[in-house]
Symmetry: C2
Subunit: 449 residues, 2 copies
């Protein structure tokens, strides 16, 4: 039995070429960042984003447009001040890390001790760290697949508790980002239950350079840190869901996910306005086809990816046994693209079909990939239930220049590149929703994130 009819493949090719002629994806991002802007989980911007998404999916003709309530943590950044003390007192560009406690009102003033890596800090003697501000000065490597991020993001996530266990009074890290523009990179940090809680900050790359030059030149470099960050009680947000209904297999679902929340510093144009635009536009283009797919395409705009995947977890919890009818899931959450590779985690017997799918994208210049993809953060809970995932890998070479910074704006969105990504996602979703037979199931595993 062939995976697809000639007519399916011809429709996919026409869909791809239609997308390359120009889509509305840029307009979706522009509207989201202009009319809403930053939308940290639980904030007024987050609420506005849910309204925006309901409104947009409705206007675009999606079916079954609905929200799914999600309880999200509510963290407030407040103000941040990091000052390099010295004859003139030089302010450094810094961000309080997401989830960090604030400082006492008068701030924290202490000597700085620098470490090259988290491992070097872990190996330190408490005597070298006690009552000091720990500075982890590790630079993120620029790579096409963004793997430099995974290598050192532990500095941000775990650094504070490792430092606190050695008696440090605060943590400062070099931003987990690749840009030499003067933007500090935020993102979630976490406290170990058993470690004292100390405030945690990142410095922009040029400011980490300044601090490190001072540390190298002097024996005693001091910083003053001030932050009014705090946590409020959890708040309600929502996943926003809309569908392009299938024809004869409408109860089977191909899921297209992205996240609606963003960090507070930027406009969330790349993270994840671009992803929202890619999946919404891919589905919309499919809805305009004469030849409808037999399966339902479900777009899920997840709440609160950034601060603990609340929306993804709630979605997986609420679907119950319906996960068996999720044939394939895809997510877009690494910027505008272009799509450069097709990774998967599907049953091995489906890899031939995946290769045909890739061939249907051929003019887009997309390589074949591995079958060990995670599929992306918001697909974790579904994957752990056994849902196969397809990961159209977005080129992340420039993504980590702006990701999680104030500089994540529409100016970084190239409409042509975004169209290529829409083309790839649309072809993949259409072919997944028309394929004879499914992509198998994965072995269920516990979800522990």
């Amino acid at each position: 039995m062939a995976d697809w009819t000639e007519a399916d493949l011809a429709t996919a090719a026409a869909l791809r070429d239609r997308a390359l002629k120009g889509t509305s994806a840029y307009e979706h991002v522009s509207s989201l960042v202009t009319e809403v802007g930053p939308r940290l989980a639980g904030s007024a911007g987050d609420e506005a984003a849910v309204r925006w998404a309901m409104n947009r999916l409705g206007k675009l003709g999606f079916t079954g447009v609905r929200t799914q309530d999600v309880l999200v943590p509510r963290w407030i950044r407040g103000s941040t001040e990091v000052t390099l003390l010295g004859p003139a007192g030089q302010p450094l560009v810094a961000a309080t890390l997401g989830g960090s406690i604030g400082t006492p009102e008068d701030g924290i003033e202490a000597a700085v001790v620098e470490f090259a890596t988290l491992d070097a800090l872990s190996a330190a003697q408490a005597g070298d760290v006690k009552n000091k501000i720990v500075f982890i000065n590790e630079r993120m490597e620029r790579t096409k697949d963004g793997s430099g991020y995974g290598k050192i993001v532990k500095n941000r996530v775990q650094g504070a508790s490792v430092a606190a266990n050695l008696g440090a009074v605060a943590l400062v890290i070099r931003s987990v980002g690749t840009s030499d523009e003067r933007f500090a990179h935020t993102g979630r940090m976490q406290y170990d239950v058993n470690a004292p809680r100390i405030p945690a900050f990142s410095l922009s790359n040029p400011d980490a350079d300044t601090l490190s030059r001072q540390v190298k030149a002097n024996k005693q470099v001091r910083l003053r840190l001030k932050s009014t960050a705090r946590e409020l009680p959890p708040a309600w947000s929502a996943n926003v869901i809309g569908e392009i209904p299938g024809t004869d297999r409408a109860n089977e679902i191909v899921l297209l996910g992205a996240h609606l929340d963003s960090w507070d510093l930027g406009q969330g144009a790349l993270d994840d306005g671009a992803g929202v635009a890619i999946v919404v536009e891919a589905a919309r283009l499919i809805s305009r086809l004469d030849r409808k797919p037999s399966r339902t395409i479900r777009v899920v705009l997840f709440a609160n990816e950034e601060f603990g995947l609340s929306g993804a977890k709630e979605y997986a919890r609420q679907i119950g046994d319906e996960h068996n009818r999720h044939v394939l899931a895809m997510e877009a959450d690494t910027g505008i693209g272009p799509v450069v590779r097709l990774d998967t985690q599907v049953a091995p017997e489906s890899l031939g079909a995946i290769e045909k799918m890739r061939k249907a994208m051929e003019p887009l210049v997309i390589e074949g990939g591995s079958n060990t993809a995670s599929g992306g953060a918001d697909l974790g809970p579904l994957r752990s239930l056994g849902v196969p995932v397809l990961d159209p890998v977005l080129d992340a070479s420039l993504y980590f220049d702006v990701h999680h910074t104030m500089n994540d704006t529409l100016a970084k969105v190239d409409a042509k590149v975004l169209d290529q990504s829409v083309a790839a996602y649309a072809v993949a979703a259409y072919l997944a929703a028309t394929k004879q037979g499914n992509f198998g199931r994965l072995a269920p595993v516990p979800f522990n994130r």
Copy 2:
């Protein structure tokens, strides 16, 4: 009579090649931005910069190292908040313009009216502007010689008073800068004596885009503006002067200028740490030659260029008739370079010598230029006294991406490029200080800036 002996020209060539092998210019900038950082006229950083310069010129072996007291205006930026009002209230990245008054404590909240240019604003009816916030949305053009800046900087300098005369409550301009990174561009604005004083702000280019998209989409866009900017009584700063003494014509001076102050937002690495490094290093390299120049090379690091040229005016005031012994003046104040052209304002009969000078720089790829150069802001008062100027034009293609922004850091300084600029300045200064005969005199004109 030849302008130079073969030995003079051979020494200049050796000096040039020595500089291209690597200079200490980068280290001078690094030291200034690391040990001092921002140094707005009259601030603690400005004081630290004067100490830094005295110390550095002394250590490098300059002669007659001294300060010249200069009274400077003292403006305090305080805090700036610009918020695009709407369902979620989106913060915009903005800077209070230098010299602006602050807002009332509760801020200013008003509707926005957008104009494409200052001319369009000038032509507006008061009824369209009264009680509104005027937004001038003009984008600076990127050019090699930085001429895009001169074309629209009037938006910043004059915009507030033009708007105020039509009844506006505040001015917001698109930054006079070329970068799409999210940095707002500060710089000096001025109030007309007869206009009401209203606060004035700039928005980063991406934020001006956001505001403009909102204006285009809605009839009534409102902003809230808050600034605690204020003026304090004038403070003392200083020009810092050091010399490489000449041999047989030591009372004749070749002046190399740059300015020691910077805006407060960035580190002043390009504006004008780079200029300080270029002129200091060029003079230092000349001081290391076996064959000393016959004229004295005087390095002047001017106080307060940014906020009204106080140092340049005071220098010209104090030299009295000594200006007749200033044979040629050069300034570096457009970033790191490279030097791409040799402009001048000298007596026409000296243009042959200037062309020989340019040929002595030949491997540096420097074009011949015009003889109508201003020479740079800090040379204005000297030029008006009749002192000829040489302007080694620094490539400004990227300069206005960071100039006057928070992003003016050492990360933007390329040591190799800086060395090329040092080579050009050193050759020019050496040949000016060894030339038989002078460069004539200019017709004195009133200095009115």
